[in-house]
Symmetry: C2
Subunit: 436 residues, 2 copies
């Protein structure tokens, strides 16, 4: 078996990936799919090795006093490994983006031009504790014809090394070039800076981590970076909204999975429907354990009801605190919800323009003018009418899988799937054409 | 008349552009086109003002000892102003990229999704002495719904101020928002750094200038930059090439306009056709005043012919020097041509991979396998078969106009036209959809 992905100095790993990328770009779909299927199989067959490596990371993590949440992200077991392998199989069946002719025509000069999707080349993925990213990212990069340089957290170093080595051996056994999967040690800021300045060999860095990682990269990177930034997502309930739908959508957007980037963080309610919508909604949020940070008008509404005046005569049963300026700008990623009142769709758009992070924003309305004003006026990757923000996802959008979610405007906005891991080139064919 | 584009502190200009951008993004095509037509008209009507401002720059330039080439780039006259106005009119008739639905479908969840092209927002264009860029860039940005922040050279400060002010007044008179055209003073590196770090208000910087400007930006920019980098373009004549066509294409690629980025800088010739192709071609290059930097095999070929042995019995009449390693990596932008011999299409691809800048590359061949290997194997924005590299151009490619030519792989590769000045957003519509 060939030597496979091993921790090695950053520059060597990037150079090897660059060499591999040239070959990978021309490998046909069938061979890439065979390699991915081989990776999925090897992960299952070598589950014990992966678990042994993971046990080392878990022990170090406990000794270092990692919290339960981080330990849970780090932990692997047979069913999680099976899920990782199944996710690779899901990518096998996706269409290959490479070679797709995006557009083409005959030019007035008589030249035939085609704009063809081709791999970016070498993609570096920088991520934190979750070891599954090692395989998820690798599968997406290989399917799209790219070599990958992985830089995981030192907390997961044994798990990542085992996963990357198993994947690289399976890939090479299936005929993919050596160096197509590289792993660099977690290391510190110096090593991150070295990776982020390999612009001659690395085409793109995708960080998967928090604002600290983003800031660290922004300071040093000369390689292009697509930041999968935070999601400070809003749901705005317009005065014409179907309030039963609104109740269900707000609850879904906030509580179905509060820790992810497409969950709602702020609710804006039109003043005309506050009294009808909020008592029941606050009660339901309270039942889900949501802490509400309320603006003055929500606060006043809630406090002016005696239990007897409330619909159904029940107390609200929700914990409320006054919202501060900081609440409007916060991505809680937790069961906390900023809630405020606005007097128009324009005011809602203005609020979102000031505080939103350009991820996913929703209006709930039956008014076509309000829907149109909101969809055109809100500057975000995904703008919803009468649906939950939770749908922003490569899988839901029909891309099959995603490596992250971009709130940037350049190159890729929204879910980053296989196509977004590609660039294009113009192929131009003539029969002796010269320019006048 | 409202106050229009005036030189002002960088941050204020960028903020005003950001405010304008929100409004501009929703202005319909007709009003944008009216504004562009108004700009074209105002340039003609106010030609005297522009010429008076330009005369000040020309005088300062002469006093500062600018060379003839730079003075020529700086100089305006009535016919050049008419040409600038005509170029604006050409943009009026182009289709508006904003609002185009790039793709759309019904998702399995029943949601309807559309990916719609929308303006980037605020684009900063950093350029050197040519004052026409002030108007060319402005027209492309406004047509694509973007606000523009211009940062020209201090050498052209009076000309740029006059042009930007006339354009801004005409745009505002036609109903575009104040701040849609901003101009910041040339200033030094400190001011460039300030502009390049306004990531909260500026969405993209497009530098139009040499490698010095690129290096300066790469060091400081936190705003995304699309580098319109250099074009070290190659023409490879394969063993099966039609040599008459090859002669014409090579001459066209090298000599039709040697100072532009899509002109050829290196000729690679298959060893099987060197003896048949080169004597006549060298003679023709000599007639065009081209200096040839020859590798050893070209050198040997040329020196082994006596005049009597040459076809038609004429001496070659071309000035040749031995090529050094540096020649293969140089973008001459001048009538100098590196010429070398290779033994296969693979060797040509390898050479281009090592030295090319990813701009435009051509193979001349009658062999379909060689054509395919070259088009797929060469990693460049534009890859030609049997045509001159000189066709790489937004106008030739049917985009109508271009603001530059990208050798990057992210966002835009090749000519940067109206579409490439846009991003997209996902518009998703449901009727109460929540995620399971």
């Amino acid at each position: 078996m060939a030597t496979a992905a091993v921790t090695s100095p950053v520059i060597d790993t990037c150079r090897a990936a660059r060499r591999a990328a040239r070959e990978l770009a021309q490998i046909d779909t069938a061979r890439k799919d065979t390699a991915l299927a081989g990776i999925a199989r090897a992960l299952i067959e070598r589950t014990d090795e992966i678990l042994a490596a993971n046990a080392l990371d878990m022990r170090s993590g406990r000794e270092a006093g990692l919290g339960d949440t981080l330990l849970d992200r780090l932990a692997l077991d047979a069913s999680r490994i099976a899920a990782i392998a199944a996710a690779v199989q899901d990518i096998v069946v996706l269409p290959d983006p490479v070679g797709e002719v995006i557009e083409g025509r005959r030019l007035p000069s008589g030249l035939d031009i085609r704009r063809m999707r081709v791999p970016l080349g070498v993609i570096a993925v920088v991520y934190e504790a979750r070891p599954n990213v090692t395989i998820d990212a690798t599968a997406l990069c290989l399917k799209s014809g790219n070599a990958i340089v992985l830089r995981g957290s030192s907390t997961a170093s044994h798990s990542n090394a085992a996963l990357a080595q198993i994947a690289a051996q399976a890939a090479i056994a299936a005929g993919l070039p050596e160096g197509c999967i590289g792993l660099v040690a977690g290391g510190g800021h110096e090593e991150l800076a070295r990776l982020a300045t390999q612009q001659d060999t690395v085409d793109l860095i995708i960080p998967r981590g928090g604002e600290g990682l983003k800031a660290a990269l922004q300071e040093v990177a000369t390689v292009p970076v697509i930041y999968a930034a935070s999601g400070n997502c809003h749901v705005y309930v317009d005065e014409t909204a179907d309030l039963k739908q609104a109740h269900a959508i707000v609850l879904n957007a906030k509580t179905q999975r509060p820790g992810v980037c497409n969950a709602a963080e702020t609710l804006l309610v039109h003043s005309e429907v506050v009294a009808d919508l909020m008592p029941d909604l606050l009660r339901a949020l309270g039942r889900e354990g949501v802490l509400v940070r309320a603006d003055e008008r929500i606060w006043a509404l809630a406090s002016c009801f005696t239990p007897e005046e409330l619909p159904m005569g029940e107390p609200l049963g929700v914990v409320m605190e006054p919202a501060t300026e900081a609440d409007w700008a916060t991505e809680y990623l937790a069961p906390t919800f900023a809630v405020g009142v606005v007097d128009s769709v324009e005011e809602a758009i203005e609020h979102i323009s000031r505080y939103g992070s350009g991820h996913s924003e929703a209006i709930l309305t039956r008014d076509t003018d309000a829907a149109r004003a909101f969809q055109l006026g809100v500057d975000a990757a995904c703008v919803y009418v009468n649906a939950s923000t939770r749908f922003t996802d490569g899988g839901e959008f029909g891309m099959g899988a995603e490596i992250g979610n971009s709130t940037q405007k350049l190159h890729a906005r929204g879910p980053i799937g296989l196509r977004e891991l590609c660039t294009y080139k113009y192929l131009v064919t003539g029969d002796g054409h010269v320019r006048d």
